[in-house]
């Protein structure tokens, strides 16, 4: 059975891989090098950049966006573009977690319940998309509905965690490194293994690379759509739990730029929006790049507008460069 599936997988995936082989090798190196170069520039020009505390700041900031971006990578790899509802899902989860803790639920129960809720949100959207609807439009609508629902349920007020049980989760450190950064590293490894080494991961890649071939070989495209949106929703749920635990509260506009931050991390990392070409490690490198860039600009006192302008420019340069690189590789 596995052989029967495997051989067409190899055959169908081969052309894409061959065409993009240069891009394949070059890109993660380029992003990683760019992040390193940026860190070097920062270290030379900005003394406050290399302090231990600042490195922790970068790691913490990168962690939440990074965890969401990991889930988003599955969506993008499967050829479903992006999700525009992760920030609303994260805020919804943060509120849910804060509420569950304030009701006195034990920590593990609260975490599991919130993750189940996040998964359900993902399944509902994934279901509509699996049935054939455009992912961008579906998640745009779902995001607005989730935002409105969360605000209506809470009367647009802050929900406080109200106990110290979750404090370690949000503010603790293990070996001097924040808990959420550990989670980001662990989840990166898990996600990388799932995408590259499991049958599910390879199915995601194949469906993204060549949907008709995937269907022809009997792979279930609808199931992939359903699963990737559940994965990305789970990533958003984890980020929501961490942030609520960190600041001790949940409110509906808690993650105002998470959608574009996570998408920017995926795009700067160089995962192709056409699907099938990319990796979790690229996304992790993209997340670090943006976290270092943002941190440097903050330390140098750049105003907010200039910061997002430069972030947008980084995304545009990235996608144009990757598009040129890919079309070269193809011709």
């Amino acid at each position: 059975m596995s052989q029967a599936v495997e051989s067409p997988v190899g055959a169908a995936a081969a052309p894409t891989e061959e065409a993009g082989s240069r891009a394949h090798l070059v890109m993660p190196v380029v992003v990683g090098a760019a992040a390193l170069l940026l860190a070097l520039v920062g270290a030379v020009t900005t003394p406050a950049f290399v302090t231990g505390e600042n490195v922790l700041n970068i790691l913490r900031a990168a962690a939440l966006v990074g965890i969401v971006a990991l889930g988003m990578t599955f969506v993008t790899m499967s050829g479903n573009y992006f999700s525009l509802s992760v920030q609303q899902t994260a805020a919804f989860s943060a509120i849910g977690f804060a509420a569950a803790m304030s009701w006195g639920w034990p920590l593990p129960v609260a975490v599991l319940a919130v993750l189940a809720l996040a998964a359900l949100i993902g399944v509902l959207q994934g279901g509509i998309i699996a049935a054939g609807m455009n992912p961008i439009i579906t998640t745009l609508g779902a995001g607005a509905a989730l935002f409105g629902l969360a605000a209506t349920l809470t009367d647009n007020r802050t929900v406080r965690v109200g106990s110290t049980a979750a404090e370690f989760l949000g503010r603790g450190q293990i070996l001097g490194i924040p808990t959420q950064s550990w989670a980001f590293v662990l989840l990166t490894i898990v996600a990388a293994l799932v995408l590259a080494r499991t049958r599910f991961g390879r199915t995601v890649i194949l469906v993204g690379a060549n949907a008709p071939a995937a269907t022809a070989t009997g792979l279930n495209r609808a199931f992939v759509a359903l699963t990737v949106f559940t994965v990305s929703s789970l990533g958003a749920g984890i980020a929501g739990v961490f942030l609520a635990a960190q600041i001790g509260q949940g409110i509906v506009n808690q993650f105002e730029t998470l959608n574009i931050d996570a998408i920017a991390a995926v795009l700067v990392g160089g995962t192709a929006v056409s699907g099938g070409d990319g990796s979790v490690l690229r996304t992790a490198a993209g997340t670090l790049f943006i976290a270092i860039l943002t941190n440097l600009m903050l330390l140098r006192g750049y105003p907010f507008g200039l910061r997002i302008l430069l972030q947008g420019v980084a995304v545009i340069i990235g996608v144009v460069a990757y598009a040129l690189l890919r079309s070269r590789g193809r011709s």
Binding site: I128, N156, G305, I308, L309, L310, G312, A323, S327
Partner: protein, 324 residues
């Protein structure tokens, strides 16, 4: 042709039902003053829907309209010393040039429009902050907007301009060669290209139009209120897309009508107005609009209207050609 008019009729029927429901349940709804407000809202959401609708018809998607509207609003307010018309013209001209470049870049670099416009969505929002110095900019002479604020029964210069623009764009799409090219590359891109239709002109025109209408909406709304903030219009995309889809614009590309988009925009403004008359807070509007959009999608799926299963159909049809 018969079928299209039938669909238009059913959409008109939906809008009429929504209107009657609110008119019956709320005595303040069907007054001239409230309808004037509704039509101004229609002008705003309708303009954005018109632009996004054209890019959807072209088989693409413009996510950047909210940011473009914000920048246009700031430019118009900063230039308001020159008078109403020059200020609007400058803002719209800048937006149009930006949209044109965006369309050209999409074709030239073979980038998915979703990807490029999400980059510009971020960057252009940054420009809005930089241009405004991160604060609300206020028109020096507030009387500059007096002309837009006039009321002509249920109409205003703003809504009349929008209606005129709808007629113009509708005629352009239907009767002008360039307009028909937009339908052609949206519906059957490979066939259109094989028949000698280039991609540059229709895509560039569609994105120029989209940015121009967003810029017009942003500048008129900002001038009307006499101020512009860099954070404005973040939620513009949602009503625009919802209106376009209610109006029967198919996500597969190549199908859609300006009349349908107008009816869609009118329908959602009826709903928004009805909710706000009842004192519903802003987030209920978001809940209603998001739910409405999802319902439209599910409706399309269940009844297999043209455009259902569009996403995968499009991926199949276009393959890797334009989705680099």
């Amino acid at each position: 042709m018969r079928r299209i008019s039938g669909q238009t009729l059913s959409r008109l029927g939906l809008a009429a039902i929504v209107f009657v429901l609110f008119a019956v349940s709320d005595p303040d709804f069907a007054t001239a003053s409230n309808l004037n407000t509704v039509l101004d809202g229609f002008a705003f959401a309708g303009l954005a829907a018109l632009g996004v609708g054209v890019t959807i018809i072209a088989g693409e998607f413009d996510l950047s309209i909210g940011s473009v509207a914000a920048v246009a609003g700031i430019i118009a307010v900063l230039a308001s010393g020159l008078g109403l018309v020059p200020a609007v013209l400058i803002a719209v001209a800048v937006s149009t040039v930006f949209g044109l470049l965006q369309g050209l870049a999409i074709v030239r670099f073979r980038i998915s429009s979703l990807v490029l416009t999400i980059g510009t969505l971020i960057a252009v929002r940054g420009i809005a902050y930089v241009l405004s110095g991160e604060t609300t900019v206020i028109a020096q002479d507030l009387s500059v907007a007096d002309a837009i604020k006039q009321r002509l029964w249920i109409f205003s210069p703003f809504s009349l301009t929008t209606i005129a623009l709808f007629v113009l764009v509708g005629a352009f799409l239907k009767y002008h060669r360039w307009g028909r090219e937009i339908f052609a590359v949206g519906g059957a891109r490979n066939e259109a290209q094989a028949a000698g239709v280039g991609l540059y002109r229709p895509i560039a025109v569609a994105f120029a139009l989209s940015a121009a209408t967003a810029g017009l909406a942003g500048s008129l709304v900002s001038l009307k209120s006499g101020s512009a903030t860099p954070i404005a219009f973040e939620g513009l995309l949602l009503p625009a897309v919802t209106a376009a889809l209610i109006g029967g614009t198919s996500l597969a590309g190549g199908t859609g009508s300006v009349v349908g988009i107008a009816i869609g925009a009118l329908t959602i403004r009826f709903i928004v107005s009805g909710l706000s008359l009842r004192g519903a807070p802003f987030y209920v509007e978001s809940l209603a609009m998001g739910t409405l959009l999802l319902l439209v999608l599910i409706f399309e799926l269940v009844f297999e209207l043209p455009g259902a299963r569009s996403f995968w159909a499009r991926r199949r049809a276009r393959g890797v050609v334009a989705e680099a």
